[in-house]
Symmetry: C2
Subunit: 439 residues, 2 copies
């Protein structure tokens, strides 16, 4: 760990005096911090990543960081909306199936090339979709209204001035603003950027998120369990998958034991490639709470109790001299996941610059009574369905225990049960976070 | 093109006799095929890709292709839900703050290791969250209800049998089915798979989709326009971004001119890495409709008129001896995108095995009158918002013209206007496809 030992010896022999965290919000009378206060505090401690020019297809779903003024008009020139013939409307005014108008075909305009010459009155020019309208022409007759003649064409229907003609700039005028900073680039926006000739766009990158699970009891999935009292590491997979779904570029480091020095060495190694470090475990009251023990040496940290259930013990830090944000989540799988949703996902979105940072709260009608936890926000696993009218219904997915990962896997929502009620009755509207909504 | 020339010379000197496409559905009286008929026909012509074992984190959002029976129970053993002391409930039955019970601490159980010995009556053992319950103990007292003593502990509250004990298998019982084939693997499911020890899972891969735009008038974005009548290629970006958002692994090949041999050479080169080829342009009535001209030599193809607006001309083929599906979309950007949504996205989802193949139709209330097209389904660009009660509202994003990519970029939905009405009134419920819903 050259980075840290060097700094250590320069700044402070025993332990560097880390610049402290910004002042945290006051806690409530019961010593707990509200979920919103903690989330807003974390958001206030991290900055959006710097934007740089990226290839269009790498920018899908990211937020643009520049104002884009179209340098071109769309369409760039008057052009035909149909395959057919460019004519003067007055020349075909009397045309019908019974009394076709016969016009000599004096040329042809494919897409991408100008008409060979001006259209003279009483003539027609073959024209393809997207091809420029010849000077002198003011209407298009589609193939379907003609005999598709090559030398002469029989026209069976009248047209009117401007018919099937797309006008210069009617979609986008040159000089018009087409994107504002912050606009999220959905596939259709990528298409528009290409259409105005941009092949690169200024966006913030997907944050590099390092995921580490702590605990000497953890065993890598796919390996045999050495003893009946060990368990498979699920948190690093759960959090890595959730961070990826939130838009991050994820490095799942896996697990580390309960040895503080091992934890410190691993975190220091990972800091170089991290925009955010997520850990699970080791932040509670226990004697083996290694993250709580190890991390204050590496940066400015705080460990707090948040008024939520599950997920009460939370840790946060700005680690190393680059002050890389680190969110230290509790170790129970459900606590880790719920805390990820409440705190880490908003931070990932802020790093990417994609708004809203916080998942919008939706409403659903409870299909049965649900008990809350007085003075703490309960985030229960829920299954949201729709009734015949398209209204959302929600029922709980199993129990409240924070070890119930089987129930968590069945859930598609978190039900937010307020602090000021003990019980939500069947039929009441509750707030839900819909977990599978896209980026 | 050795692949094709070889086969050609063996099978048929001039043009191989490609095995024909499956019988297509009958067209309507007006010669058009309905949107649903065409979509279902394409779906019937493609098969799900073969599944193989993939690393858990590569399987996020894919559909599992195996039944998974949990080989372990979760929890795998009775364990503590809290940091605290394992006791016998009867020994602390009388404990209170006023009359604490003093118990000798006879050992300590960290997570991952068994208790050192059986708990004798009248003693306590320190225990960490997740650690196995010692034999002889039947309840946990959390740290908060004690003085956290090391040699002896003062217990300030009673407990009851089973308190803070997570029972073996109460989440998932060994032998219990946790996944059925077809279940989509959200992050929480990835967590559960890890928790039961699986590090790989049988899923179909993300389809490799090759995207090609045709048209001699096209210029690569980022390059200067050589003439005022050329345009930037937006379709290959638009379709590549949309295919990626639909879950595909995308190869954007870019553009090819209107020379049939050039188109054939390019497609043959791409077939080796494609599970699906998407082209735009060259399938209409025009004299330069190169895809329509070129592709029948390379496989079994059909070109049809679909009763929709935009997107009427559609092509489909099973190309080469491997019968790689190819969807040949029209060239107007909006037509290409709408056809992608109607036909290519369902095909991509079928290749991946992710259901439902077809985007579920949602309902929204029209904020203004919208005109339909008699006898054709109109798919108009819409902007969906929500009113204060959370009900969806939809308004149109600009005009109906299929060249209006600026309007398309502003849209977040397609409004499906039925064939049997000319006009939808303000306040009517209409069907919408929500474009930014996740995978």
């Amino acid at each position: 760990m050259p980075l840290f030992s060097r700094k250590k010896s320069e700044d402070a022999p025993a332990r560097p005096a880390w610049e402290p965290l910004p002042p945290p919000p006051p806690v409530r009378e019961d010593g707990l911090r509200s979920l919103e206060d903690h989330r807003d505090y974390l958001l206030s401690c991290v900055n959006e990543l710097p934007a740089f020019g990226q290839q269009l297809l790498d920018a899908v779903d990211l937020a643009i960081c520049e104002e884009v003024i179209s340098p071109v008009s769309l369409p760039g020139f008057d052009n035909s909306a149909m395959d057919g013939y460019a004519v003067r409307a007055q020349d075909v005014a009397s045309a019908s199936v019974e009394n076709p108008v016969l016009l000599p075909v004096v040329g042809e305009v494919p897409a991408g090339r100008p008409a060979p010459h001006r259209l003279s009155p009483g003539t027609a020019m073959k024209i393809m979709t997207g091809a420029p309208i010849p000077r002198g022409a003011d209407a298009i007759v589609a193939y379907e209204g003609t005999d598709r003649g090559a030398t002469d064409v029989e026209v069976y229907e009248s047209s009117e001035v401007g018919r099937h003609i797309r006008r210069t700039g009617e979609d986008v005028a040159a000089g018009h603003r087409v994107f504002r900073p912050g606009d999220q680039l959905r596939p259709r926006a990528i298409g528009l950027l290409a259409a105005i000739g941009k092949d690169k766009v200024l966006v913030r990158p997907r944050p590099r998120v390092v995921v580490v699970a702590t605990g000497s009891e953890l065993v890598q999935p796919g390996q045999p369990l050495p003893s009946e009292f060990q368990i498979f590491d699920s948190n690093s997979y759960l959090l890595a998958a959730a961070a990826r779904a939130a838009g991050a570029q994820v490095f799942r480091v896996g697990m580390v034991s309960d040895d503080p020095q091992e934890v410190r060495d691993l975190i220091i190694d990972q800091l170089v490639r991290a925009d955010l470090v997520l850990t699970s475990g080791g932040v509670s009251q226990g004697d083996y709470d290694v993250v709580k023990a190890a991390m204050p040496e590496l940066g400015a940290t705080e460990f707090v109790q948040v008024a939520m259930q599950p997920g009460k013990p939370q840790g946060f830090g700005l680690i190393g001299h680059d002050r890389i944000p680190m969110i230290m989540l509790p170790g129970n799988p459900v606590s880790a996941f719920v805390s990820f949703e409440a705190f880490a996902r908003p931070v990932i979105r802020k790093l990417m610059g994609v708004t809203p940072y916080v998942r919008p709260a939706a409403k659903a009608r409870a299909t049965h009574a649900m008990s809350s936890t007085t003075s703490r926000r309960r985030l229960a696993r829920g299954i949201v369905t729709h009734d015949d009218d398209g209204n959302r219904l929600v029922s709980l997915a199993g129990g409240y225990g924070s070890h119930l990962i089987g129930d968590l896997a069945r859930a598609n929502a978190l039900v937010v049960l307020p602090e000021d009620t003990d019980l939500v009755a069947a039929g009441d509207q509750v707030e839900v976070w819909l977990l599978d909504e896209g980026l």
